[in-house]
Protein backbone atom coordinates (compact mmCIF):
# COMPACT_ATOMS: atom_id res chain seq x y z
CA UNK A 1 0.00 0.00 0.00
CA UNK A 2 2.84 2.35 0.86
CA UNK A 3 4.25 1.66 -2.57
CA UNK A 4 1.02 2.83 -4.21
CA UNK A 5 0.94 5.99 -2.09
CA UNK A 6 4.54 6.62 -3.07
CA UNK A 7 3.39 6.97 -6.66
CA UNK A 8 0.65 9.49 -5.88
CA UNK A 9 2.69 12.53 -6.91
CA UNK A 10 3.25 11.17 -10.40
CA UNK A 11 -0.36 10.07 -10.74
CA UNK A 12 -1.79 13.40 -9.59
CA UNK A 13 0.61 15.33 -11.82
CA UNK A 14 -0.37 13.23 -14.81
CA UNK A 15 -4.09 13.44 -14.12
CA UNK A 16 -3.82 17.22 -13.99
CA UNK A 17 -2.05 17.20 -17.33
CA UNK A 18 -3.89 14.54 -19.30
CA UNK A 19 -7.48 14.43 -18.04
CA UNK A 20 -8.24 17.87 -16.67
CA UNK A 21 -11.57 19.34 -17.73
CA UNK A 22 -10.31 20.75 -21.03
CA UNK A 23 -8.62 17.50 -21.98
CA UNK A 24 -11.57 15.36 -20.95
CA UNK A 25 -13.64 17.17 -23.53
CA UNK A 26 -10.85 17.51 -26.11
CA UNK A 27 -10.18 13.77 -25.97
CA UNK A 28 -13.84 12.99 -26.54
CA UNK A 29 -14.05 15.56 -29.34
CA UNK A 30 -11.04 13.98 -31.01
CA UNK A 31 -12.48 10.48 -30.58
CA UNK A 32 -15.83 11.48 -32.00
CA UNK A 33 -14.30 13.22 -35.03
CA UNK A 34 -11.09 11.37 -35.82
CA UNK A 35 -11.52 8.01 -34.09
CA UNK A 36 -8.23 6.80 -32.72
CA UNK A 37 -6.21 8.22 -35.59
CA UNK A 38 -4.61 10.77 -33.23
CA UNK A 39 -3.61 8.17 -30.65
CA UNK A 40 0.01 8.50 -31.75
CA UNK A 41 0.20 12.10 -30.47
CA UNK A 42 -0.71 10.91 -26.99
CA UNK A 43 2.03 8.29 -27.15
CA UNK A 44 4.58 10.84 -28.39
CA UNK A 45 3.47 13.23 -25.64
CA UNK A 46 3.69 10.60 -22.90
CA UNK A 47 7.25 9.73 -23.85
CA UNK A 48 8.19 13.41 -24.00
CA UNK A 49 6.76 14.30 -20.60
CA UNK A 50 8.39 11.19 -19.11
CA UNK A 51 11.79 12.31 -20.42
CA UNK A 52 11.55 15.81 -18.99
CA UNK A 53 9.61 15.07 -15.80
CA UNK A 54 12.24 12.47 -15.01
CA UNK A 55 14.95 15.09 -15.43
CA UNK A 56 13.15 17.73 -13.37
CA UNK A 57 12.39 15.24 -10.60
CA UNK A 58 16.02 14.11 -10.55
CA UNK A 59 17.30 17.70 -10.41
CA UNK A 60 14.90 18.42 -7.54
CA UNK A 61 15.92 15.29 -5.66
CA UNK A 62 19.67 15.77 -6.09
CA UNK A 63 20.02 19.56 -5.76
CA UNK A 64 16.79 20.51 -3.98
CA UNK A 65 16.01 23.07 -6.68
CA UNK A 66 12.60 23.28 -8.28
CA UNK A 67 12.17 23.97 -11.97
CA UNK A 68 11.33 27.66 -12.05
CA UNK A 69 14.39 28.64 -9.98
CA UNK A 70 16.46 27.02 -12.70
CA UNK A 71 14.58 28.76 -15.47
CA UNK A 72 15.45 32.20 -14.15
CA UNK A 73 18.99 31.20 -13.35
CA UNK A 74 19.75 29.71 -16.74
CA UNK A 75 17.71 31.93 -19.07
CA UNK A 76 18.27 35.28 -17.36
CA UNK A 77 15.49 37.67 -16.42
CA UNK A 78 14.32 38.59 -19.90
CA UNK A 79 13.41 35.16 -21.27
CA UNK A 80 12.39 33.96 -17.82
CA UNK A 81 9.87 36.78 -17.50
CA UNK A 82 8.37 35.81 -20.86
CA UNK A 83 8.09 32.23 -19.69
CA UNK A 84 6.73 33.34 -16.33
CA UNK A 85 4.05 35.44 -17.98
CA UNK A 86 2.98 32.69 -20.34
CA UNK A 87 3.13 29.93 -17.73
CA UNK A 88 1.29 32.01 -15.18
CA UNK A 89 -1.52 32.76 -17.64
CA UNK A 90 -1.77 29.06 -18.51
CA UNK A 91 -2.00 28.27 -14.81
CA UNK A 92 -4.59 30.95 -14.19
CA UNK A 93 -6.76 29.95 -17.14
CA UNK A 94 -6.49 26.26 -16.33
CA UNK A 95 -7.31 26.73 -12.66
CA UNK A 96 -10.32 28.83 -13.66
CA UNK A 97 -11.44 26.08 -16.01
CA UNK A 98 -10.88 23.35 -13.42
CA UNK A 99 -12.97 25.09 -10.78
CA UNK A 100 -15.64 25.42 -13.44
CA UNK A 101 -15.09 21.73 -14.20
CA UNK A 102 -15.65 20.67 -10.59
CA UNK A 103 -18.80 22.79 -10.62
CA UNK A 104 -19.98 21.25 -13.91
CA UNK A 105 -19.46 17.74 -12.56
CA UNK A 106 -21.39 18.64 -9.42
CA UNK A 107 -24.15 20.09 -11.58
CA UNK A 108 -24.52 16.71 -13.29
CA UNK A 109 -25.11 15.11 -9.90
CA UNK A 110 -27.22 17.78 -8.30
CA UNK A 111 -29.05 19.57 -11.14
CA UNK A 112 -28.08 22.83 -9.42
CA UNK A 113 -26.70 25.38 -11.86
CA UNK A 114 -22.92 25.13 -11.92
CA UNK A 115 -22.45 28.82 -11.21
CA UNK A 116 -23.82 28.22 -7.73
CA UNK A 117 -21.24 25.50 -7.18
CA UNK A 118 -18.31 27.65 -8.30
CA UNK A 119 -17.67 29.50 -5.00
CA UNK A 120 -17.93 26.28 -3.02
CA UNK A 121 -15.53 24.50 -5.34
CA UNK A 122 -13.03 27.36 -5.08
CA UNK A 123 -13.30 27.50 -1.29
CA UNK A 124 -12.81 23.75 -1.07
CA UNK A 125 -9.66 24.03 -3.20
CA UNK A 126 -8.39 26.86 -1.01
CA UNK A 127 -9.08 24.95 2.22
CA UNK A 128 -7.07 22.01 0.94
CA UNK A 129 -4.18 24.28 0.00
CA UNK A 130 -4.43 26.13 3.31
CA UNK A 131 -4.66 23.24 5.68
CA UNK A 132 -4.19 19.75 4.26
CA UNK A 133 -0.81 18.02 4.24
CA UNK A 134 0.76 17.72 0.80
CA UNK A 135 0.95 13.92 1.02
CA UNK A 136 -2.71 13.54 1.99
CA UNK A 137 -3.73 15.91 -0.76
CA UNK A 138 -1.87 14.00 -3.46
CA UNK A 139 -2.97 10.59 -2.20
CA UNK A 140 -6.68 11.45 -2.08
CA UNK A 141 -6.88 13.44 -5.31
CA UNK A 142 -4.59 11.07 -7.21
CA UNK A 143 -6.15 7.81 -6.13
CA UNK A 144 -9.80 8.90 -6.34
CA UNK A 145 -9.00 10.37 -9.74
CA UNK A 146 -8.12 6.85 -10.79
CA UNK A 147 -11.88 6.16 -10.89
CA UNK A 148 -11.55 7.49 -14.42
CA UNK A 149 -10.29 4.01 -15.25
CA UNK A 150 -14.03 3.51 -15.62
CA UNK A 151 -13.58 4.84 -19.15
CA UNK A 152 -11.28 1.91 -19.94
CA UNK A 153 -13.76 -0.48 -18.33
CA UNK A 154 -16.52 1.11 -20.37
CA UNK A 155 -14.52 0.64 -23.56
CA UNK A 156 -14.20 -3.09 -22.86
CA UNK A 157 -17.88 -3.41 -21.94
CA UNK A 158 -18.84 -1.75 -25.22
CA UNK A 159 -17.21 -4.71 -26.94
CA UNK A 160 -15.90 -2.76 -29.93
CA UNK A 161 -14.45 -4.24 -33.09
CA UNK A 162 -10.82 -4.11 -31.96
CA UNK A 163 -9.54 -4.69 -35.46
CA UNK A 164 -11.33 -1.61 -36.68
CA UNK A 165 -10.03 0.48 -33.78
CA UNK A 166 -6.56 -0.79 -34.59
CA UNK A 167 -6.94 0.32 -38.19
CA UNK A 168 -8.02 3.79 -37.03
CA UNK A 169 -4.77 4.11 -35.11
CA UNK A 170 -2.80 3.64 -38.30
CA UNK A 171 -4.91 5.93 -40.49
CA UNK A 172 -4.29 9.62 -40.82
CA UNK A 173 -7.68 11.20 -41.18
CA UNK A 174 -10.48 8.78 -40.53
CA UNK A 175 -13.36 10.79 -41.93
CA UNK A 176 -13.33 12.55 -45.25
CA UNK A 177 -15.29 15.50 -43.85
CA UNK A 178 -12.38 16.70 -41.71
CA UNK A 179 -9.66 18.93 -43.07
CA UNK A 180 -5.98 18.16 -42.59
CA UNK A 181 -5.44 21.45 -40.77
CA UNK A 182 -8.05 20.53 -38.16
CA UNK A 183 -6.39 17.16 -37.72
CA UNK A 184 -3.04 18.83 -37.08
CA UNK A 185 -4.58 21.42 -34.79
CA UNK A 186 -5.84 18.64 -32.54
CA UNK A 187 -2.51 16.83 -32.86
CA UNK A 188 -0.73 19.92 -31.50
CA UNK A 189 -3.41 20.46 -28.84
CA UNK A 190 -3.10 16.87 -27.55
CA UNK A 191 0.69 17.02 -27.60
CA UNK A 192 0.62 20.37 -25.79
CA UNK A 193 -1.78 19.00 -23.19
CA UNK A 194 0.49 16.03 -22.55
CA UNK A 195 3.55 18.24 -22.13
CA UNK A 196 1.89 21.22 -20.46
CA UNK A 197 4.54 23.04 -18.40
CA UNK A 198 2.71 23.11 -15.07
CA UNK A 199 3.26 19.37 -14.85
CA UNK A 200 7.02 19.78 -14.38
CA UNK A 201 6.56 22.82 -12.12
CA UNK A 202 4.25 20.80 -9.90
CA UNK A 203 6.24 17.59 -10.08
CA UNK A 204 9.59 19.16 -9.21
CA UNK A 205 8.11 21.39 -6.50
CA UNK A 206 6.22 18.39 -5.15
CA UNK A 207 9.52 16.52 -4.97
CA UNK A 208 10.89 19.35 -2.83
CA UNK A 209 7.70 19.38 -0.73
CA UNK A 210 8.13 15.68 -0.09
CA UNK A 211 11.79 16.20 0.68
CA UNK A 212 13.16 13.79 -1.90
CA UNK A 213 16.90 13.28 -1.81
CA UNK A 214 19.34 11.24 -3.84
CA UNK A 215 17.96 8.17 -2.05
CA UNK A 216 14.56 8.74 -3.64
CA UNK A 217 15.74 8.71 -7.24
CA UNK A 218 14.20 5.29 -7.81
CA UNK A 219 10.91 6.54 -6.43
CA UNK A 220 11.09 9.57 -8.70
CA UNK A 221 11.62 7.34 -11.71
CA UNK A 222 8.78 5.04 -10.68
CA UNK A 223 6.45 8.02 -10.27
CA UNK A 224 7.22 9.18 -13.77
CA UNK A 225 7.06 5.77 -15.41
CA UNK A 226 3.75 4.84 -13.79
CA UNK A 227 1.99 8.21 -13.56
CA UNK A 228 2.31 9.63 -17.03
CA UNK A 229 1.63 6.45 -19.05
CA UNK A 230 -1.43 5.97 -16.85
CA UNK A 231 -2.56 9.50 -17.70
CA UNK A 232 -2.03 8.78 -21.39
CA UNK A 233 -3.99 5.54 -21.07
CA UNK A 234 -6.96 7.34 -19.51
CA UNK A 235 -6.85 9.91 -22.26
CA UNK A 236 -6.85 7.16 -24.93
CA UNK A 237 -9.70 5.34 -23.20
CA UNK A 238 -11.85 8.48 -23.33
CA UNK A 239 -11.08 8.94 -27.03
CA UNK A 240 -11.73 5.24 -27.61
CA UNK A 241 -15.17 5.35 -25.97
CA UNK A 242 -16.10 8.35 -28.12
CA UNK A 243 -14.72 6.66 -31.24
CA UNK A 244 -16.85 3.55 -30.66
CA UNK A 245 -20.14 5.21 -29.77
CA UNK A 246 -20.17 8.80 -31.01
CA UNK A 247 -18.16 8.60 -34.25
CA UNK A 248 -20.51 6.23 -36.11
CA UNK A 249 -23.55 8.29 -35.01
CA UNK A 250 -21.86 11.56 -36.01
CA UNK A 251 -22.56 13.01 -32.57
CA UNK A 252 -20.42 16.08 -31.94
CA UNK A 253 -19.16 16.60 -28.41
CA UNK A 254 -19.85 20.01 -26.94
CA UNK A 255 -20.49 19.31 -23.27
CA UNK A 256 -19.27 17.17 -20.42
CA UNK A 257 -22.43 15.04 -20.41
CA UNK A 258 -21.66 13.80 -23.92
CA UNK A 259 -18.21 12.70 -22.80
CA UNK A 260 -19.89 10.32 -20.37
CA UNK A 261 -22.58 9.10 -22.74
CA UNK A 262 -20.63 6.04 -23.98
CA UNK A 263 -19.83 4.97 -20.43
CA UNK A 264 -23.46 5.28 -19.39
CA UNK A 265 -24.44 3.08 -22.34
CA UNK A 266 -21.82 0.49 -21.48
CA UNK A 267 -21.89 0.28 -17.73
CA UNK A 268 -25.13 1.83 -16.57
CA UNK A 269 -25.61 3.91 -13.46
CA UNK A 270 -22.94 2.30 -11.36
CA UNK A 271 -20.13 2.97 -13.81
CA UNK A 272 -21.50 6.43 -14.46
CA UNK A 273 -21.36 7.22 -10.73
CA UNK A 274 -17.77 6.02 -10.65
CA UNK A 275 -16.88 8.21 -13.61
CA UNK A 276 -18.50 11.29 -12.11
CA UNK A 277 -16.58 10.70 -8.88
CA UNK A 278 -13.43 10.37 -10.96
CA UNK A 279 -14.15 13.58 -12.85
CA UNK A 280 -14.75 15.53 -9.64
CA UNK A 281 -11.49 14.22 -8.19
CA UNK A 282 -9.51 14.75 -11.40
CA UNK A 283 -10.72 18.30 -11.96
CA UNK A 284 -10.25 19.15 -8.28
CA UNK A 285 -6.79 17.60 -8.47
CA UNK A 286 -6.00 19.63 -11.56
CA UNK A 287 -7.30 22.76 -9.81
CA UNK A 288 -4.95 22.09 -6.90
CA UNK A 289 -2.08 21.39 -9.25
CA UNK A 290 -2.53 24.59 -11.25
CA UNK A 291 -3.23 26.80 -8.23
CA UNK A 292 -0.11 25.55 -6.49
CA UNK A 293 1.86 25.84 -9.72
CA UNK A 294 0.82 29.47 -10.02
CA UNK A 295 2.20 30.05 -6.53
CA UNK A 296 5.32 27.95 -7.11
CA UNK A 297 6.34 29.68 -10.35
CA UNK A 298 6.05 33.25 -9.06
CA UNK A 299 7.56 32.46 -5.65
CA UNK A 300 10.49 30.61 -7.21
CA UNK A 301 11.07 33.33 -9.76
CA UNK A 302 11.16 36.06 -7.11
CA UNK A 303 12.88 34.02 -4.43
CA UNK A 304 10.01 34.00 -1.92
CA UNK A 305 9.61 31.25 0.68
CA UNK A 306 7.13 28.73 -0.69
CA UNK A 307 5.68 25.33 -0.05
CA UNK A 308 2.94 23.57 1.84
CA UNK A 309 5.49 22.10 4.23
CA UNK A 310 5.73 25.58 5.78
CA UNK A 311 2.96 27.13 7.83
CA UNK A 312 1.07 29.65 5.67
CA UNK A 313 2.48 32.47 7.81
CA UNK A 314 5.98 31.31 6.91
CA UNK A 315 5.18 31.56 3.21
CA UNK A 316 2.82 34.50 3.37
CA UNK A 317 3.19 36.01 -0.10
CA UNK A 318 2.97 32.54 -1.68
CA UNK A 319 -0.38 31.91 0.01
CA UNK A 320 -1.71 35.42 -0.65
CA UNK A 321 -0.91 34.99 -4.33
CA UNK A 322 -2.87 31.75 -4.54
CA UNK A 323 -5.85 33.33 -2.78
CA UNK A 324 -5.82 36.14 -5.32
CA UNK A 325 -5.61 33.63 -8.20
CA UNK A 326 -8.62 31.74 -6.88
CA UNK A 327 -10.60 34.97 -6.51
CA UNK A 328 -9.73 35.93 -10.10
CA UNK A 329 -10.86 32.46 -11.16
CA UNK A 330 -14.22 32.83 -9.42
CA UNK A 331 -14.68 36.28 -10.90
CA UNK A 332 -13.93 35.05 -14.41
CA UNK A 333 -16.36 32.14 -14.12
CA UNK A 334 -19.10 34.41 -12.79
CA UNK A 335 -19.09 36.29 -16.08
CA UNK A 336 -20.65 33.13 -17.51
CA UNK A 337 -17.70 32.23 -19.74
CA UNK A 338 -17.65 28.57 -20.81
CA UNK A 339 -15.00 26.92 -18.59
CA UNK A 340 -14.05 24.45 -21.29
CA UNK A 341 -13.36 27.13 -23.87
CA UNK A 342 -11.06 28.92 -21.44
CA UNK A 343 -8.57 26.07 -21.69
CA UNK A 344 -8.48 26.21 -25.48
CA UNK A 345 -6.79 29.59 -25.40
CA UNK A 346 -4.03 28.33 -23.18
CA UNK A 347 -2.63 26.49 -26.23
CA UNK A 348 -1.42 29.86 -27.50
CA UNK A 349 0.59 30.53 -24.38
CA UNK A 350 1.98 27.01 -24.37
CA UNK A 351 3.77 27.96 -27.57
CA UNK A 352 5.91 30.40 -25.60
CA UNK A 353 6.16 28.47 -22.36
CA UNK A 354 7.01 24.98 -23.66
CA UNK A 355 10.46 25.56 -25.20
CA UNK A 356 11.51 28.02 -22.49
CA UNK A 357 10.63 25.51 -19.78
CA UNK A 358 12.23 22.37 -21.13
CA UNK A 359 15.51 23.85 -22.38
CA UNK A 360 16.76 24.94 -18.92
CA UNK A 361 15.80 21.58 -17.43
CA UNK A 362 17.93 19.84 -20.05
CA UNK A 363 20.86 22.22 -19.41
CA UNK A 364 20.82 21.84 -15.63
CA UNK A 365 20.34 18.08 -15.79
CA UNK A 366 23.76 18.05 -17.48
CA UNK A 367 25.46 20.40 -14.99
CA UNK A 368 27.77 18.48 -12.65
CA UNK A 369 27.71 21.40 -10.19
CA UNK A 370 24.08 20.58 -9.51
CA UNK A 371 23.91 16.93 -10.34
CA UNK A 372 27.29 15.48 -9.34
CA UNK A 373 27.41 11.96 -10.68
CA UNK A 374 23.71 12.00 -11.55
CA UNK A 375 24.01 13.97 -14.78
CA UNK A 376 22.03 12.83 -17.81
CA UNK A 377 23.17 9.83 -19.76
CA UNK A 378 23.61 9.97 -23.53
CA UNK A 379 20.32 8.29 -24.34
CA UNK A 380 18.34 10.73 -22.22
CA UNK A 381 20.18 13.71 -23.73
CA UNK A 382 19.48 12.40 -27.21
CA UNK A 383 15.80 11.98 -26.41
CA UNK A 384 15.72 15.41 -24.78
CA UNK A 385 17.21 17.07 -27.85
CA UNK A 386 14.85 15.28 -30.23
CA UNK A 387 11.93 16.39 -28.09
CA UNK A 388 13.13 19.99 -27.98
CA UNK A 389 12.93 19.97 -31.79
CA UNK A 390 9.42 18.49 -31.71
CA UNK A 391 8.36 21.00 -29.03
CA UNK A 392 9.72 23.87 -31.08
CA UNK A 393 7.90 22.65 -34.19
CA UNK A 394 4.64 22.29 -32.25
CA UNK A 395 5.14 25.70 -30.65
CA UNK A 396 5.66 27.40 -34.01
CA UNK A 397 2.71 25.59 -35.60
CA UNK A 398 0.27 26.12 -32.72
CA UNK A 399 -0.86 29.69 -33.30
CA UNK A 400 -1.22 29.56 -37.13
CA UNK A 401 -3.16 26.29 -36.85
CA UNK A 402 -5.43 27.79 -34.23
CA UNK A 403 -6.20 30.76 -36.47
CA UNK A 404 -6.68 28.71 -39.67
CA UNK A 405 -9.02 26.20 -38.04
CA UNK A 406 -10.81 28.64 -35.74
CA UNK A 407 -9.64 26.54 -32.78
CA UNK A 408 -10.78 23.30 -34.40
CA UNK A 409 -14.30 24.39 -35.33
Amino acid sequence: MKRIFGLALGILTAIGGFVDIGDLVTNAVVGSRFGLSLAWTVVVGVIGICVFAQMSGRVAAVSGRATFELIRERLGPRLAVMNLGASFLINLMTLTAEIGGVALALQLVSSVNYLLWVPFAAIAVWLVIWRVKFQIMENVAGLVGLCLIGFAVGLFLLGPDWGQLGRQVLQEVSTSTEKASTYWFYAVALFGAAMTPYEVFFFSSGAVEEGWTTKDLAESRANVLVGFPLGGLLSLAIAGCAAVVLLPQLIGVTALSQVMLPVAMAGGKLLLALIILGIVAATAGAALETTLSAGYTIAQFLGWPWGKFRAPAQAARFHLLMIICLLVGIGTLMTGVDPIQVTEFSVVFSAVALPLTYLPILIVANDPEYMGEHVNGRVLNGAGLVYLVIILAAAIAAIPLMIITGAGQ
Partner: protein, 142 residues
Protein backbone atom coordinates in the same frame (compact mmCIF):
# COMPACT_ATOMS: atom_id res chain seq x y z
CA UNK B 1 36.74 37.53 -10.47
CA UNK B 2 38.02 35.51 -7.56
CA UNK B 3 36.97 35.17 -4.01
CA UNK B 4 38.99 33.58 -1.28
CA UNK B 5 37.03 30.79 0.37
CA UNK B 6 37.92 29.59 3.84
CA UNK B 7 41.08 27.65 3.29
CA UNK B 8 41.54 26.69 -0.32
CA UNK B 9 43.03 28.44 -3.26
CA UNK B 10 40.86 31.14 -4.87
CA UNK B 11 37.82 29.88 -6.74
CA UNK B 12 36.67 31.39 -10.01
CA UNK B 13 33.15 32.76 -10.07
CA UNK B 14 31.33 33.94 -13.13
CA UNK B 15 29.00 36.76 -12.13
CA UNK B 16 26.35 35.81 -14.64
CA UNK B 17 26.62 32.09 -14.09
CA UNK B 18 27.16 31.89 -10.34
CA UNK B 19 25.73 35.02 -8.75
CA UNK B 20 23.06 36.84 -10.72
CA UNK B 21 19.58 35.33 -10.50
CA UNK B 22 20.64 32.84 -7.85
CA UNK B 23 18.39 32.03 -4.94
CA UNK B 24 19.57 33.46 -1.59
CA UNK B 25 18.91 31.41 1.54
CA UNK B 26 19.29 32.71 5.07
CA UNK B 27 21.13 30.87 7.82
CA UNK B 28 18.11 28.64 8.46
CA UNK B 29 17.78 27.68 4.81
CA UNK B 30 14.72 29.87 4.21
CA UNK B 31 14.59 31.53 0.79
CA UNK B 32 14.68 35.32 1.10
CA UNK B 33 15.40 36.71 -2.32
CA UNK B 34 17.04 36.30 -5.67
CA UNK B 35 20.17 38.25 -6.53
CA UNK B 36 18.93 40.97 -8.88
CA UNK B 37 22.09 43.01 -9.11
CA UNK B 38 25.52 43.47 -7.56
CA UNK B 39 27.22 46.43 -5.93
CA UNK B 40 30.88 46.87 -6.81
CA UNK B 41 33.44 49.00 -5.06
CA UNK B 42 33.82 52.44 -6.54
CA UNK B 43 35.39 52.70 -9.97
CA UNK B 44 36.12 56.34 -10.82
CA UNK B 45 34.14 57.26 -13.90
CA UNK B 46 35.59 59.21 -16.74
CA UNK B 47 39.21 59.07 -15.55
CA UNK B 48 42.07 56.99 -16.69
CA UNK B 49 42.68 54.16 -14.27
CA UNK B 50 46.30 53.76 -13.11
CA UNK B 51 47.88 50.44 -13.98
CA UNK B 52 48.52 49.18 -10.47
CA UNK B 53 44.98 49.76 -9.14
CA UNK B 54 43.47 46.68 -7.54
CA UNK B 55 40.37 45.42 -9.41
CA UNK B 56 36.94 46.34 -8.01
CA UNK B 57 35.42 43.89 -5.55
CA UNK B 58 31.84 42.93 -4.89
CA UNK B 59 30.62 44.78 -1.82
CA UNK B 60 26.98 43.70 -1.70
CA UNK B 61 24.24 41.65 -3.29
CA UNK B 62 21.29 43.80 -4.32
CA UNK B 63 17.67 42.79 -4.46
CA UNK B 64 14.73 44.91 -5.39
CA UNK B 65 13.04 46.35 -8.43
CA UNK B 66 16.11 45.83 -10.59
CA UNK B 67 14.33 43.38 -12.81
CA UNK B 68 12.58 45.96 -14.96
CA UNK B 69 15.74 47.97 -15.40
CA UNK B 70 17.79 44.92 -16.30
CA UNK B 71 15.30 44.13 -19.01
CA UNK B 72 14.53 47.62 -20.29
CA UNK B 73 17.71 49.43 -19.30
CA UNK B 74 18.28 52.30 -16.89
CA UNK B 75 18.96 52.23 -13.17
CA UNK B 76 16.54 51.94 -10.28
CA UNK B 77 16.91 54.53 -7.51
CA UNK B 78 19.44 53.30 -5.00
CA UNK B 79 17.04 53.79 -2.10
CA UNK B 80 14.73 51.10 -3.49
CA UNK B 81 17.41 48.42 -3.56
CA UNK B 82 18.04 46.28 -0.54
CA UNK B 83 21.69 45.51 0.14
CA UNK B 84 23.05 42.31 1.58
CA UNK B 85 26.69 42.97 2.42
CA UNK B 86 29.07 40.49 0.81
CA UNK B 87 30.51 39.77 4.25
CA UNK B 88 27.23 38.03 5.17
CA UNK B 89 27.67 35.51 2.37
CA UNK B 90 28.72 32.17 3.78
CA UNK B 91 28.74 29.98 0.71
CA UNK B 92 28.24 30.28 -3.01
CA UNK B 93 27.01 27.03 -4.44
CA UNK B 94 23.89 26.14 -6.37
CA UNK B 95 22.32 28.59 -3.94
CA UNK B 96 23.86 31.50 -2.07
CA UNK B 97 23.81 30.90 1.67
CA UNK B 98 24.00 33.72 4.18
CA UNK B 99 25.33 33.58 7.72
CA UNK B 100 22.48 35.72 9.09
CA UNK B 101 18.79 35.11 9.75
CA UNK B 102 16.16 36.65 7.55
CA UNK B 103 14.63 38.78 10.27
CA UNK B 104 17.83 40.75 10.40
CA UNK B 105 17.41 41.40 6.72
CA UNK B 106 15.35 44.17 5.20
CA UNK B 107 14.89 41.95 2.19
CA UNK B 108 11.72 40.40 3.47
CA UNK B 109 9.71 43.34 4.71
CA UNK B 110 6.91 42.62 2.20
CA UNK B 111 6.86 39.04 3.40
CA UNK B 112 6.59 40.25 7.02
CA UNK B 113 3.89 42.77 6.15
CA UNK B 114 1.74 40.19 4.35
CA UNK B 115 2.30 37.74 7.21
CA UNK B 116 1.34 40.17 9.95
CA UNK B 117 -1.56 41.89 8.23
CA UNK B 118 -3.15 39.24 6.00
CA UNK B 119 -2.09 35.62 6.18
CA UNK B 120 -1.35 35.49 9.91
CA UNK B 121 -4.84 36.78 10.66
CA UNK B 122 -6.72 34.10 8.75
CA UNK B 123 -7.57 31.20 11.08
CA UNK B 124 -5.05 28.40 10.76
CA UNK B 125 -2.49 30.67 9.17
CA UNK B 126 0.17 29.87 11.74
CA UNK B 127 -0.52 26.17 11.79
CA UNK B 128 2.30 23.98 10.52
CA UNK B 129 1.07 20.80 8.87
CA UNK B 130 1.75 18.07 11.43
CA UNK B 131 4.02 15.14 10.83
CA UNK B 132 5.62 16.89 7.92
CA UNK B 133 9.37 16.55 7.90
CA UNK B 134 11.19 19.72 8.82
CA UNK B 135 12.56 20.27 5.38
CA UNK B 136 14.99 23.11 5.26
CA UNK B 137 15.66 23.51 1.58
CA UNK B 138 19.23 23.35 2.69
CA UNK B 139 20.41 20.40 0.70
CA UNK B 140 22.71 20.17 -2.22
CA UNK B 141 25.37 22.75 -1.76
CA UNK B 142 28.42 22.51 -3.89
Amino acid sequence: MTTASDDQSPRWLDVHLHLLDRQVLDVHGVPIAVVDDLELSEVPAGQEIPRDTSPPVITALLSGPALATRIFGGRPPESRMVRTPWIAVREVGVVIKLSVGRDTQDLSWTERWVRDHVIGRIPGGRHTPKGEHAQSNDRGGS
